[in-house]
């Protein structure tokens, strides 16, 4: 079964930078007096994981196994659901489904779009 596939836990510079910003939801939400327990993007992340699993690109069991390995290593200090997001990005990068440069460029584009106007 593909769930036995291992994951390279070597750090990804782009993701490592994000995890050290101290911008996890449980940190910033209280700062603004927001009591919603989850960040607004969490259900969308779930949708992405489901879609990847349904399509066979990344079966749920394989993702969860990799999440466990990553949560116990390089993302051990990051709370959920941020840890799950970093893990998903990490897995997609390591499997070559997305490149780090493409992801960095897209993040720049997305941020510009969200801050426009």
């Amino acid at each position: 079964m593909s769930a036995k596939r291992t994951i390279d836990v070597g750090p990804v510079a782009l993701l490592e930078a994000i995890q050290h910003q101290g911008k996890e939801w449980d940190v910033i939400a209280p700062r603004y007096g927001v009591t919603n327990p989850n960040p607004p993007w969490k259900s969308s992340l779930t949708g992405t994981c489901e879609c990847l699993s349904v399509g066979g690109t990344l079966p749920a069991l394989e993702r969860r196994k990799a999440e466990d390995v990553l949560a116990d290593s390089i993302y051990r200090e990051v709370p959920a659901p941020e840890r799950d997001l970093l893990a998903l990005a990490h897995i997609l990068l390591r499997r070559g489904l997305v490149t780090e440069s493409d992801l960095a460029e897209r993040m720049h584009t997305v941020r510009s779009r969200l801050q426009a106007g």
């Binding site: 910033i28 700062r31 960040p39 779930t46 992405t48 489901e50 116990d72 051990r76």
Partner: protein, 260 residues
Amino acid sequence: MSAADKHGHEREHAHGHGHKHGGDGHTHKAAPMVEEITDYEVLEIAVRELAIEHGLFTAEDHRKFTEWAEAVGPAAGSRLVAKAWTDPAFKARLLKDGTEACKEVGIDWAEPTGFGTPSDYTNFRVLEDTPTLHHVIVCTLCSCYPRPLLGMSPEWYRSTNYRRRLVRWPREVLAEFGLILPPEVEIRIEDSNQKCRFMVMPVRPQGTDNWSEEKLAAIVTRDCMIGVALPRPGRTTDIHPVHKARRPVQSAAQHARAAE
């Protein structure tokens, strides 16, 4: 008020100004919102957009699954148990064929795709507690969970701490949730997997005679259906004290770090 769309965008809502409007002249005070865009938010969007562009799935598929994830919750499971408590014929059908009986409370395990999500279309079984038998569910392998009935799993359910320790020290782990069972009660742990999902049907508590299904459902919380709590009159939420682990499990990596 503030709002966020399913793509994670914080946005202004039409009521977000604290002004009077509408025919009744009512006033809203703006609810607080996070006034910054974090890289986590940006990363989630970027990953999704790239995946869609690479043809891994479509935006429509994503919308459908996200909508489903936002819609599911433990209320369906609560209704299921309350109905079984008050309707012996339904209870018999539920214990015989869980997936089929779920349709009677509006839950179709095949949603949202027609064949279910890969991790959810399964053989579903309800585990009936008795005064001398208590069930608890876990997924030691990953985080399999009866999502159509209970919604998304709580974070602790996915933790290696719960998954590894429950099967070894069930009484101690349950005690950490505040559930201390007498020794004469047998505890049976049911390990979920990709093909089988389980849900606990607790014993109907005393003091609930003549209660309506709706009133009963209110005390059947998520934790009761996982098996880490028992229903009782007046208990309608899963807020519970967190007790320190008496036998914490350490992974190989944690052992290595401790040795450093």
